[in-house]
């Protein structure tokens, strides 16, 4: 028919119109028409084939976090769609803008338990910001436009669009796409002036203020404004795992990360403060195990774009809903430095008193590897991590100075995230070195993506902290379960160098501390992907450690024995 287009043509055109340059995906029966169109438009939109849909979802997430753009992933119906679930839940917990397109069985077959049918619309409701099951082909363009708008604005998040395959082949007359009309969706941007005034007064009165800032600063692109605010007011700052890089970690006013495995000085400073200025954070239980013993003497200011985060875990004296960038700009105009010599001296003393350390004993300590990598690269690389002990050591020892340079599954804690996220980050930042810090447990959860880095010759550096066990759970078993290491010590592990060789990827194994620097240097100077298998101390523990539900200075090992 003349003047008509297929649904698939409209989908791909809509992606291109939304500014999408690359999608991550895996084909299947109910997305053949869509893949047919991707084949024909290969010059206009790049498709990266992963080896598992979970890899595609994490890669889209990594791409989004590294670039600040919306990441896109594609999967077929049924198992393809359900394989995206972990990736979408990960993105949802960390507020990452991702659009997922899934194929669905024909419209008239929905509900019949058809081959490869799953109710991904129903399944994804609690793990997406919004989702669609499109029933008419002429709505596709409008839905896709809306989906990108929802994913990227306000508090960002993943959006899923389920598209039956008969819609992809339908011939329709394309309609003009109108503006996005969502009557109930209007994220607040500016902060209320009265609250701004209240904040300024509180800042003036505070004797022991601390800034507690997180991932919201990245989502709002407010790092510059934050830095100005800190330097103007001279208030010390601690950042969350999600906030790594929003403020240079080598700055004298930075206290490192707070919370369960945060620095002692950050947690002590929070505990002693009389004013906590929370920005783009959610008082997560890994940050504030017991909200009543978090900052018992403090008043709280909470700045966030999501009104539902304010007052969710603790009562806040001065709430302000809005975009951090705008609010910080308003605060910067009027805030003045206040001399707080005693507090500044106290902070310096806390830092002096409780530095992060580890003990060398002839084995390779993961902390040492990360510190060495950090010193050698000086904030210039993009780091992704998996989940567990190595993640916490990375948070402690990897000095990050810019936003979007440290990506980790903070909220959901998804083992298997790091490697595919590194693939996405490398696609998004082709000129930057991307290093995935992973464990032998986590790496095996998405190890199939070695084929992806090989196929596209992506120069991702994979550093495995190989302790032969699931270290974080083992640590808890050691501390709280009488060392009954139930299924946390691997009786068998593959030879990661041989695995890499099977994928035609260069690999090296490091067993002595003296060879660590050399190995890192070699990996960083290798073109193409490299696997480095660091055989590390098997029973090393992440310290400091505040066990779940305890007060902010209730460190493990002090009064526990």
């Amino acid at each position: 028919m003349t003047g008509t287009k297929t649904g698939a043509e409209i989908i791909v055109q809509s992606l291109i119109d939304a500014g999408v340059e690359v999608v991550f995906g895996f084909p299947g029966g109910q997305v053949i028409p869509l893949y047919n169109e991707l084949y024909q438009r290969a010059d206009d939109i790049r498709h990266i084939l992963t080896r598992h849909e979970q890899g595609a979802a994490h890669a889209a997430d990594g791409y989004a976090r590294a670039t600040g753009r919306v990441g896109v992933c594609i999967a077929t119906s049924g198992p393809g769609a359900t394989n995206l679930v972990t990736g979408l839940a990960t993105a949802h917990m960390d507020s990452v803008p991702v659009v997922a397109l899934t194929g669905q069985v024909w419209t008239n077959k929905i509900g019949n338990d058809s081959f490869q049918e799953a109710d991904i619309y129903g399944i994804s409701i609690p793990i997406t910001k919004y989702n669609y099951l499109v029933k008419q082909a002429d709505q596709l363009a409008q839905v896709i436009k809306e989906a990108f708008h929802i994913a990227a604005t306000g508090r960002p998040g993943p959006v899923l669009i389920d598209i039956p395959s008969d819609l992809q082949t339908a011939d329709i007359k394309p309609r003009k796409v109108g503006p996005v009309k969502l009557p109930g969706y209007a994220p607040v941007s500016k902060g209320h002036p009265r609250q701004i005034e209240a904040i300024l007064r509180a800042l003036k009165d505070a004797r022991r203020p601390v800034i507690y800032a997180g991932g919201g600063v990245i989502a709002s692109s407010a790092s510059k404004e934050l830095r100005r605010f800190v330097e103007k007011t001279g208030i010390p700052i601690t950042t969350t795992l999600m906030g790594k890089g929003i403020f240079p970690e080598d700055h004298p006013l930075h206290l490192g990360m707070l919370g369960m495995h945060g620095t002692k000085y950050a947690n002590c400073a929070i505990f002693e403060s009389d004013l906590v200025i929370a920005m783009g954070v959610r008082f997560d239980d890994r940050v504030a195990g017991d909200v009543h013993r978090f900052a018992p003497q403090a008043r709280f200011i909470h700045i966030d774009i999501d009104a539902a985060e304010i007052g969710k875990r603790l009562a806040v004296a001065i709430p302000i809903v809005g975009d951090l960038k705008a609010i910080l700009a308003m605060l910067n105009e009027k805030s003045e430095p206040v001399g707080r010599e005693r507090w500044t001296r106290k902070i310096a003393a806390l830092k002096e008193e409780h530095p992060l350390t580890w003990e060398d004993d002839g084995t390779i300590k993961p902390q040492y590897v990360i510190k060495t990598l950090s010193d050698m690269t000086r904030g210039e690389i993009v780091v992704t991590t998996d989940v567990g002990q190595h993640q916490m050591w990375a948070a402690q020892y990897m000095c990050t100075t810019e936003p979007r340079r440290f990506m980790t599954s903070g909220g959901l804690g998804t083992m298997g995230y790091g490697f595919p996220a590194a693939i996405g980050a490398q696609i998004g930042c082709p000129d930057r070195t991307v290093v995935c810090l992973t464990g032998d447990g986590s790496f095996q959860m998405c190890i199939q993506e070695l084929a992806t880095v090989r196929m596209y010759n992506l120069p991702v550096k994979m550093f495995i902290f190989n302790n032969g066990c699931l270290g974080m759970v083992r640590q808890w078993q050691q501390f709280f379960w009488d060392k009954r290491y139930s299924h946390t010590v691997f009786d068998y592990n593959p030879d990661f160098c041989k695995v890499a060789a099977g994928y035609d990827i260069e690999a090296l194994r490091v067993t002595e501390p003296a060879k660590v620097g050399e190995a890192i240097d070699r990996a960083l100077h290798t073109d193409g992907p490299v696997v480095v298998d660091f055989v590390v101390a098997p029973e090393e523990n992440v310290m400091p450690f505040i066990p779940s539900g305890r007060g902010q200075t209730d460190f493990f090992g002090e009064g526990d024995e």
Partner: protein
Amino acid sequence: MRKMISILVRNHPGVLSHVAGLFTRRAYNIESIAAGVTENPDVTRITIVVSGDEIILEQVTKQLRKLIDIIKVQDLKYSESITRELVLMTIYAPKEKRHEIIRIANTFGATVVDVGAKTMTLEFVGNDRKINTVILSLEAFKIKELARTGLVALPLESEMESDRTLL
């Protein structure tokens, strides 16, 4: 504590799943939920009665506001709203007790809508307190089956000069 929330949502398939899903995911307790299209066919009104402590009840409103399909969320106070619910109940009614049942029904303004060989079915419309009173009064006769629509509510327009006894 209990709270009544009236929400306006975009009328399309799936919107109820989003609302109900929020309550499951966040472990909120729904006491009743009633949905129906409004004067505008594109808009559905859902009236929800939810229980929890003060912090939870505030969270419920905030989390509902976050749903993309929600157009408006309104916390309704019982004292400033008109609330109604419909209940149907089938009661075991042997011949000798029918008079008594009808007498109670008349007292409350309930209507007999069906009479079976051994049962009578009554219909009653009122606010939830009155409904509970009616049910309590008829429980002695043994209720065979009972169906409630869930509370619907609108803000009271005549709030200022209100004759509260009307409620």
